[in-house]
Amino acid sequence: MLKTKLKQAMATCVALLAVLPSLALAQDEINGANTAWILTATALVLFMTVPGLSLFYAGLVRSKNVLSVLMQCFSIAAVISVIWLIYGYSIAFGPADGGWWGGLDKVFLSGVTVDSVWGDIPEPLFIAFQMTFAIITPALIVGAFAERMKFSSLVVFVVLWATLVYFPVCHWVWNSNGWLFQMGLIDFAGGTVVHVTAGLAAAVMAIMLGKRRGFLTAPLMPHNLTMTFTGAGMLWVGWYGFNAGSALGANGSASMALLATHMSASAGALTWMGIEWVRHGKPSGLGAVTGMVAGLATVTPAAGSVGPAGGMLLGIMGGALCFAATNFLKQRVKIDDSLDVFPVHGVGGILGTLMAAVLVSTDLGVFSGNGYAEGMTMASQFGVQVVGVLATGVYTAVVTIILMKLVGLLTAGNRVTPEQELTGLDITSHDERGYSL
């Protein structure tokens, strides 16, 4: 009797031992479906910068500067990719704890092999996916200094800015060791990491570089809104990868984020063009696409928390507030943020980050979201969101001011000469022209 019991116990032990290794491995197993979706999303997010954002911006400048803007976005994609490999990924997602940065253990992606795993997708894929976010964030800022910044200053600035602003802030918010992550900040796809940082840097740079010659006195008109529409369309589609990809899986969260994102873009476009229609008698195409981008920027931090109707509300609020901010900054404050990066991305990102604390609630009827994390209430979540916005915003602004001063010294001035500005940056910075018709 005792013998049989012992036998049974031993058999159980053996069976358990056989199972154990696979249990330990379960966490490191790659999920094919998730991997397939994030591969796709990575391509979509890179597509947002080259060519989406590049064309969106290129159409908005004058024809003599079209290449300079394309060149700036393209070069940023290249240079950020290389420093992401060398140390960017390590700073953002390295293993160091303490909350401020990831350390230098993963410099040159040290230790990353074809078998490395992050969650349940390959680590090389996670690295590539995050890299596309690191690329688009400084590329967004191009809009603020378009048509007047020196190319050399731009390259040096972007490298330093990514190093001291984007990589650390990315760690704070998206790495599980990051101090804002641990505080419980809701930032699904980059309201603070991408849009607050890019927006604040844009405002600071526009002020420090000064206005373009002829701002508000001469016509500085978009030279090709067809190109802008084309780029805007690519941004809208690419944003599916940006927001739904941020679920890091092929699941309900990704699907709901995609739907909420789409509704916010649509509502943002309708809101902006509606306001123009009422105020000026006609809805403009540029207004429609700008409202769409405002809606997308606003829903970005909240995409994983809100429902589709909540997304629509965010689009309406983003469209209206970003419209007001654009007009106020241009006409009242007279800041020449050439392509309105701060009033659209910065304001949208801040609004969405704050509103995420409200629209995540499950008590809002059809406008309900996915619910608070354990122990969070609307008030406590809102407090965390305010801290997140203030911390990332103030830090970005201060570091950007210092870097602009430093880069100005290193490159003998951040701005092209008045003659170069008048002739256009295509010829004076790159010795070529966009159009030979």
Binding site: L216, P219, L220, M221, P222, E276, H280, S284, L286, G287, T290, T326, N327, K330, Q331, D340
Partner: protein, 112 residues
């Protein structure tokens, strides 16, 4: 011989060409141009930045005709280009000293 320079609304250029062809005019030169007259410009609005655009797009048609045909040609252009609204354009008539057909070397009215 006369050289007629006609500045007309762009969407009227095709009708002007047809009217001149009916008169037997066999050639002309057309250019897209910008300018302003009494019509003045208009305002354009881009994300809250309002710009006054002084120069409006027009089409410039240059056509050489014999003295005999000049009056009829002016009349045909005026009729074809008119909408009755401001901004219909203008006609300028210049005396033409010489015309040369490069291929044959013909000169004067036979070269027009």
């Amino acid at each position: 011989m006369k050289l007629i320079i006609a500045i007309v609304k762009p969407f009227k250029a095709e009708e002007v060409r047809e009217a001149l062809s009916e008169l037997g005019v066999t050639g002309m030169t057309v250019t897209e141009v910008k300018g302003f007259g009494r019509q003045k410009g208009h305002t354009e609005l881009y994300r809250g930045a309002e710009y006054v655009v002084d120069f409006l797009p027009k089409t410039k048609i240059e056509v050489a005709v014999t003295d005999e045909l000049a009056e009829q040609a002016l009349d045909a252009i005026s009729k074809a280009a008119a909408t009755g609204k401001i901004g219909d354009g203008k006609l300028f008539v210049l005396p033409l000293e010489q015309v040369v057909r490069i291929r044959t070397g013909e000169t004067g009215e036979s070269a027009v």
